[in-house]
């Protein structure tokens, strides 16, 4: 065993720490963790820098007000500038895998085919990726969640899908010894969730990884065709503010693994904008939500959050955006923020929290030819904040309206007494006869709640350097030793929850990063 180590900001007391290594990895989420693991296993000397803190299960008290500021980007408030889309994205050692809901899907072949045929990523075949997915699935105990254990919130979707004769399936989850608590989004208190922070990262540390938490990379310095220095600030773990101490890494190769939004933002801060393509074409899998009330308790805060899905509407024909169906957990603080209305109306709804079922439709963006999606740009001030915008196309609103209608049908089919949309002017359906109300509703941004938990794109991979940011081996076009290895390289969204795609892609890409050392 080599002496790798996890070091936190409070241990970095020098005014500047400078290290040399083979590979510097920026970000410890699903991409960075697997990349670090494979490089360490291949004998490379790897330094990883993570802006978030090293939070372990002893801190996971499952209380929303404590967790969102600690484990999520921008204290849980990441959003487009106009607040039309609120985003949940993790920020700690382990990245979003610390707080995601464990859903694990391999990349659909139809998406890989688009990446191969339209973006020149010819190596990305199921055959190439199969062994990498298989390794991740084995290490992370990824397996289908037994139907007998699905919670009432998921069972409502399951039963609704069955009654309407729609496609349905059980979700594979990365858990080992799961107690079915329902708090995956708040950090697993028993380490049953096989997040990067308790699995692949400690494995890599045992293989020599030096992981520095509370270290926020500010810029990459380049000379000629090489990144020469990674320049960072050490953050105070207590306040998350700059400590005044700096951190510098000189590496033979550098991999940016901060995820969509943060990876393009770092490149932009470093003057690497690929003629405006960095930060462009960011895909969010925008989500619309329908809430329903049942006569019997649903207790959607309890039990594995996501265990049932439907791909019934994933492909809806040319010119239309597809969507897939799942459910989210319902905890009081998030429910109060995401729900609409105020005063007695708000309290009346939240007062029935245990009886509330929530259903989500996740819209597959980035597949229509004219879509531009989201754009990430820098702000002149705001240490961790970026400017994010999203261009909603009319086809999105058509998909959202159709999805809400279908979700309401599923909820009524499963026995819902009442269904609510998340329009800012709250809309309530008392029965299927009211479905027409949805057609009359205002389908415009900020007039109906749209959220996202799948941030992708912004550093698209592709063969054509005039249309992409990184090449098909994930190397930044024009630089020899800079790679981007995370969900930001997706040229489109996926149509499935993204973590397993990133695991496989990072594990596969490690060979190319290793070859650059």
């Amino acid at each position: 065993m080599k002496d790798g180590r996890i070091v936190t900001g409070d241990e970095l007391l020098e005014s500047d720490t400078t290290l040399e290594c083979d590979v510097c990895i920026i970000g410890s989420g699903s991409g960075g963790a697997w990349l670090a693991h494979e490089l360490c296993a291949a004998g490379k000397d790897v330094v990883m820098l993570e802006e978030g803190g090293y939070h372990t299960r002893r801190e996971f008290d499952l209380t929303e007000a404590h967790v969102y500021p600690k484990l999520y980007q921008e204290l849980g408030n990441r959003a487009t500038d106009d607040l039309s889309i609120t985003m949940l994205q993790g920020r700690s050692v382990g990245g979003s895998t610390t707080v995601n809901w464990c859903s694990s899907f391999r990349t659909p072949e139809r998406i890989l085919k688009i990446w191969r045929e339209q973006h020149g990523c010819e190596a990305l075949t199921p055959q190439t990726l199969d062994p990498h997915w298989a390794a991740a699935e084995k290490r992370l105990h990824i397996a289908e969640w037994p139907e007998a254990l699905i919670n009432r919130n998921n069972r409502i979707l399951w039963e609704g899908l069955g009654k309407l004769g729609y496609d349905r399936g059980l979700i594979r989850r990365n858990v080992n010894g799961c107690a079915n608590l329902g708090y995956c989004g708040l950090g697993c208190p028993i380490d049953a969730k096989q997040s990067m922070g308790v699995t692949v990262l400690p494995d890599a540390v045992e293989k020599g990884l030096r992981l520095f938490a509370n270290v926020s990379v500010r810029r990459l310095e380049t000379q000629g065709k090489k990144v020469t220095r990674v320049v960072a600030d050490v953050l105070d773990p207590q306040t998350d503010r700059k400590s005044g101490r700096s951190f510098t890494v000189k590496a033979k190769a550098t991999a940016v693994c901060g995820g969509a939004v943060n990876s393009p933002a770092l490149l932009l801060r470093s003057g690497l904008d690929a003629e405006g393509r960095v930060g462009a074409r960011t895909w969010l899998h925008p989500v619309v939500v329908m809430l329903s009330e049942f006569a019997e308790p649903v207790n959607a805060f309890s039990g594995a959050p996501q265990s049932v899905y439907s791909h019934q509407f994933i492909e809806r024909g040319e010119g239309k955006m597809g969507f897939f169906l799942e459910v989210p957990p319902v905890h009081p603080m998030l429910a109060s923020v995401v729900s609409t209305g105020m005063g007695a109306q708000l309290q009346s709804f939240l007062g029935r929290l245990p009886y509330v079922n929530a259903m989500i439709a996740i819209v597959v963006d980035g597949l229509l030819p004219h879509e531009t999606g989201g754009t990430v740009r820098l702000r002149d001030s705001g240490y961790g904040r970026h400017s994010i915008s999203y261009d909603f196309v009319p086809q999105f609103w058509e998909a959202a309206r159709t999805a809400c209608r279908e979700m309401a049908r599923l909820q009524f089919a499963a026995g819902a007494k009442r269904v609510h949309s998340l329009h800012q002017t709250p809309l309530t359906l008392e029965s299927e006869a009211d479905l027409g109300k949805l057609d009359q509703a205002e389908w415009e941004k900020i007039k109906v709640r749209v959220v996202s938990a799948h941030l992708m794109g912004g550093c698209a991979m592709g063969k054509d350097a005039s249309k992409s940011v990184v090449d098909p081996q994930l190397r930044f076009h024009g630089l020899d030793n800079l790679f981007v290895v995370d969900g930001s390289v997706f040229p489109t969204s996926l149509g499935v929850n993204p973590q397993l795609t990133i695991f496989g892609l990072a594990r596969w890409a490690s060979q190319h990063v290793a070859a650059a050392v």
């Binding site: 065993m1 002496d3 790798g4 180590r5 996890i6 070091v7 936190t8 090293y54 372990t56 299960r57 002893r58 996971f60 008290d61 499952l62 209380t63 007000a65 204290l75 408030n77 500038d81 106009d82 607040l83 039309s84 290490r139 107690a179 608590l181 708090y183 208190p189 028993i190 380490d191 049953a192 096989q194 997040s195 308790v198 400690p202 540390v205 045992e206 603080m333 429910a335 109060s336 105020m342 005063g343 007695a344 708000l346 309290q347 939240l350 007062g351 929290l353 245990p354 009886y355 820098l378 702000r379 002149d380 001030s381 240490y383 961790g384 904040r385 400017s387 800012q424 002017t425 900020i446």
Partner: protein, 198 residues
């Protein structure tokens, strides 16, 4: 600076709104202030604090027997939540609260010349409703921002959980003394994350 202010300038009525927010206020229309917390404020000024307090009293309608806005000191909690955010967010929120309160802004949009804090509750509800339904994107965004702030301050407090039927998290599974492993040659404690060959 890419703040809400510059975003505003691009929007409908943005320049006019900004001019109002910048000082051409109906200055003689004073805000109705509330008692400040003895601990002091970290982000909000006394006028902004009063606006948050007034908004919280309209957005939140605690169930009978549930903690009140005063019990939970919601405006104070909001100040402390904002203190965790970056400086840009703090500036933007203060600008937004100024726009809510500003009498001339109110006049432009709704014909009111009374600051928000001096309106009676029904009129305050109507103003919030105007912001929520507005055709000006900034106002819809502003409504969402202040609403999110006060509801998260209230429903994030465990003392409100009984009022929504939430039993709270399963505390028996939380171990504040669980070991923290950092490597450095130390053996890794056994646990579900450690790989064991099947």
């Amino acid at each position: 600076m890419e703040t809400r202010r510059t975003l505003l300038k691009r929007g409908l009525l943005g320049t006019a709104l900004l001019a109002l927010g910048s000082g051409v206020t109906l200055a003689f229309r004073h805000s109705k202030l509330v008692d400040l917390p003895p601990e002091g404020l970290l982000v909000l000024g006394k006028k902004e604090y009063a606006v948050v307090d007034a908004i919280a009293r309209r957005v939140l309608s605690p169930a009978p027997g549930a903690p009140t806005v005063d019990d939970l000191r919601i405006a104070f909690t909001c100040d402390r939540i904002l203190a965790l955010t970056d400086e840009t967010s703090q500036v933007e929120m203060r600008q937004l609260l100024e726009l809510f309160e500003n009498a001339l802004t109110g006049f432009l949009f709704g014909g009111r010349v009374t600051p928000f804090t001096r309106l009676d509750p029904e009129r305050q509800d109507a103003v919030l409703d105007e912001w929520r339904r507005s055709n000006v994107e900034l106002r819809r965004t502003g409504y969402l921002a202040v609403r999110s702030l006060v509801v998260s301050a209230y429903y994030g407090d465990p003392r409100t959980w009984p009022s929504v039927g939430y039993p709270g998290p399963p505390a028996a599974f939380v171990d504040p003394n669980a070991p923290v492993w950092k490597g450095g040659g130390e053996p890794r404690p056994p646990g579900p994350g450690v790989w064991v060959e099947p």
